[in-house]
């Protein structure tokens, strides 16, 4: 029975996994493994006989009960249960808010598309919020915590994605409230229990006839467990602080990059597809490859930026930002890419009217292989390939074949 209750909480916490930064995921793992499992397993066996084996040095009935109550107004295990619940609460509330916000923004995008194109775009059937909400929902009596159509749940994890969704403020608020709760519970644990469980306790309450010695069961084991939980709490607190620092430093670095790229902007602005574009749209480089070999600054450009730069002209964003992971904007980018491809194809045709019959397929076959190699090299070197962007590249590759064939 209590396993079921812990599994409910752990299931919710796993869903939070998809909405945290890397340090947040580590914190979650520490929480689940060290605290929940330890409390459930160790607490059960160590503290099960804490009252029955609490004996006082008197035969007066009732003295045992009263002295046990004075010794342990709140048992350790219950204290830790409260602590775990209170500390998970900000994360769960953040997750609920994030799901709500993402669902709303995808609704807004869908309506915008419907208004623009007067027909439902293909992604409306895949409601982004659906797999997320399914964490708390049941289909046909079976619990499916992840997705309903077999697709991967959209991951809004990582600092950049959280930033893009406009959730950063709430995320930081959640982190701070977690830290405050952690500190409060640590202080409470110290005030209530200290660092040691003494083997004997002196009690003088009515109806005990005089001062009696009462003896606690397994004091050393309880002391060790108490100290372990102190250490785990401090570790979680340290992870919280690290996460806040990670967010702060990352944002600071991003603003630095943005400032630097704003300085670089005028040079590359005249030509929409600068040399930064390497892999997408891949077909485009077939055109440009004859003129100049594209040099890939591997260290700087992660895989996602290839897609981001497609929409660079339209959005005037810094190339350092990741593409938004919702499929709606992805489709928009692809459309833009296709239009640019058509334009580039026309210029290529104009340029190479004198050239002899250069059939597309062998050339594209050869350069596609080279392009794929380049892509894989890039991916290995720096990128964090995400499922959405992988889908994007496959879709882009399909786009390329549709253009060339």
């Amino acid at each position: 029975m209590s396993n079921m209750s812990w599994s409910f909480l752990t299931r919710l916490l796993e869903e939070i996994h998809n909405h945290s930064t890397f340090v947040g995921k580590v914190w979650l793992t520490v929480l689940i493994i060290f605290r929940i499992v330890l409390t459930a397993v160790g607490g059960e066996s160590i503290y099960s006989d804490e009252q029955t084996k609490f004996t006082c040095n008197t035969k007066q009935p009732g003295c045992d009960n009263v002295c046990y109550d004075a010794f342990a107004p709140l048992s350790h295990v219950r204290f830790w249960v409260f602590q775990i619940i209170m500390i998970s609460t900000p994360s769960i509330m953040y997750m609920g808010y994030a799901i709500h916000k993402i669902a709303r923004s995808s609704e807004v995008e869908r309506r915008k598309h419907q208004r623009l194109h007067k027909r439902p775009p293909p992604h409306t059937r895949w409601r982004e919020s659906q797999p997320l909400e399914d964490a708390l929902e049941v289909h046909d009596g079976k619990v499916q915590p992840v997705s309903n159509t077999g697709k991967d749940p959209p991951k809004h994890d990582g600092r950049r994605k959280i930033l893009q969704q406009g959730l950063m403020r709430i995320y930081v608020l959640q982190l701070m409230s977690r830290a405050i709760f952690e500190i409060a519970f640590l202080a409470g644990q110290y005030l209530l229990y200290g660092f040691r469980v003494n083997p004997s306790y002196v009690c003088n309450r009515i109806p005990c006839p005089h001062r009696v010695d009462c003896f606690i069961s397994r004091p050393t084991e309880k002391t060790i467990f108490l100290l372990i939980m102190y250490v785990v709490s401090c570790l979680c607190l340290v992870l919280n602080v690290c996460e806040m620092l990670h967010l702060g430093i990352g944002t600071f670095r991003d603003t630095l990059h943005m400032k630097r790229n704003r300085g670089r902007r005028p040079g590359s602005y005249g030509y929409p597809f600068s040399r930064n574009i390497t892999a997408s749209p891949p077909g485009y480089n077939l055109v440009m490859k004859t003129d100049k070999p594209s040099r890939i600054p591997n260290s700087l450009i992660p895989h996602e930026q290839n897609m981001a730069n497609v929409a660079q002209e339209q959005q005037c964003t810094s190339p350092d930002e990741n593409i938004p992971s919702d499929l709606a904007s992805l489709h928009r980018h692809l459309r833009v890419a296709q239009e640019q491809l058509d334009m580039a194809f026309q210029t290529y045709q104009i340029k190479n009217t004198q050239q002899t019959s250069r059939t597309s397929s062998p050339v594209s076959g050869g350069t596609v292989a080279e392009q794929n190699r380049v892509n894989t090299v890039q991916e290995k070197q720096g990128a964090r390939p995400r499922s959405a962007t992988d889908k994007a590249t496959t879709i882009v590759k399909n786009v390329k074949t549709s253009v060339w064939i």
Binding site: S2, F8, D64, V77, R78, V138, D140, V143, N148
Partner: protein, 216 residues
Amino acid sequence: MSWPALYAQLVGANRHSTSLGKIWLSVLFIFRVMVLVVAAESVWGDEQSDFTCNTLQPGCENVCYDQFFPVSHIRLWSLQLVFVSTPTLLVSMYVAYRNHCDRRRLLQGQEEELETLKTRRLPIVGALWWTYFCSLVFKMLFEGSFMYVLYVVYDGFEMPRLVQCDQWPCPNLVDCFISRPTEKTIFTVFMATASSICMVLNLAELAYLVAKALNR
């Protein structure tokens, strides 16, 4: 108490609730069901075995325990949680009925719409609004009445350390001692607080529904 079965029933209806309803469900399961199962049941686990009276007279402890604990807190809270969750099933019954009618109508039409039937989300208007409204009212009624019953039976939310009892067969006025009274008080106060939070959420949801209806 089969909490997983109750959980399975409730999350099905969760899709058709407002956001406040979803928060209510989370509060219910995290702060009440989970705390009840994981913590409170172990606190009240030895409530009769460790209830000692200051006498050797056989049967006196049983009788005195029965006098002061007609219904244990744990059972009262379990009943409260079951009753409070039941009105939500009203809503899901209504939605199922609507889906059934629509499915029959649609079977004569397109086939693919049947898939969206299962996953669509009905807007809260008309008869669904009234069903939802009634379910909220009943929820609040049940919460309030169970809290009142707890308060009356146990004379407040505090657990005394010592009770005095002179029921037959106890020979005279004996002192009986309750096990873990402080811990039980803490948990009683916690569960009463969680109940009030749920009641406040229900009230807010009621106000939101009424406001939405008036706006229309």
